[in-house]
Amino acid sequence: MTAVISSRIGDLSPTEVSCRLRGRGLGIRIGPFDVCVKASVQDFDEPFRRLYREYPIVEAGQVFSCHVSLRDVWKLRPRLGRYVRFAVDGRVPHEDLPSEQALAVFEWGLNLVIALRMQCFLMLHAAVLERNGRALALPAAPGSGKTTLSAALAERGWRLLSDEFGLLRPGTTSFLPVPRPMPLKNESIGVMQAFAPGLELGPIIPKTRKGTVAHVRPPADSVLRQHELAPVRWLVFPEWRAEEVLSLQEVPSAEGFMRLVTNAFNYDMLGKAGFETVRDLVNASRCFRLSYSSLNAAVAKVTDLADKDFG
């Protein structure tokens, strides 16, 4: 973290952003990571600039956590057309995808890089938000609605730390922010547009492997404060189900522990350090199971908990 930061992406003109992406790369700070991005893909620069406009620029020539690139390739299969190829430090970790999905490919690629390479952190598969100086973690499997819930909470004044990674240095119980655009999928896009009509979304990208995807721009304040850690207080395991009656039920710590490690990327790889960090996390928290169908009701319930517990 010695790189020089002089400005934010939004300070650059669209032309400057494109020149850097196509030239020696555009360095951005995302939480504890400095990422150098190169891209020469159609329809990527403008939405990227818009969604990342609050992020600090890290000047090229510094040491980066990783170098990622996106480039156009023409292919005959599976269908003749233009595809986008994602690479990290020169390696291509997965197949090329249709070029109109470039923004989603970038976001998924960055997730992959963090999950596979940043093993110095304990990584929980959890959204993390902060209110009243304390962190709420929402550990859950994909498809449980945690991105939608975190986007809604962020819209209602919670500080977003992440919608995907609960990041901790082993031996500590404060989450590191790594705020990123939040990918809404399918019906969630309409749900969030109804919940927050002024919501700023990236392009709607249909027919991805996860269906239709659109990214919510993270709140400016969450990005500006991405250096501020938040000590844990609530571990809430969310489950969205149609027609579900709202319920926020406290669960025993041991159950919280088991649910947490079920939703960790690298807990078992960290051995004793992972176990002790999760134990300390559980000891510093209250654990709950949240069942809901109404986003409004869930946001109100969780916010009420935070305000009564630590207001």
Binding site: P252, S253, A254, E255, F257, M258, D268, M269, K272, F275
Partner: protein, 99 residues
Amino acid sequence: MTARPAPLVCWRAVPASDLLFSKWGDDVVVFHPASGLTHLVNGPAALLLCRVLARPRTLDVAAQALAAGSAQKDEHFVTEVAALIERLEELGLVERIAG
């Protein structure tokens, strides 16, 4: 030829020093670094792992040790302890050794 008596089966837990425990009330979470697996166990299972099976024991001796101080020494109790030990064996936390 006279039939040999069946060998006595004993059970022994993974050394407690090789496991990590965290206790909340009656619930105990056990982490086995060698396998990378975490298990949620009850009080009797934790007692078997930490104390009773620290040395090789037969099922009857283990059941007696678990029931020490209580009246639960009937056949049904021994069957329950046998099932618990076998489950711990499946999890790689207890091993079967020749007596």
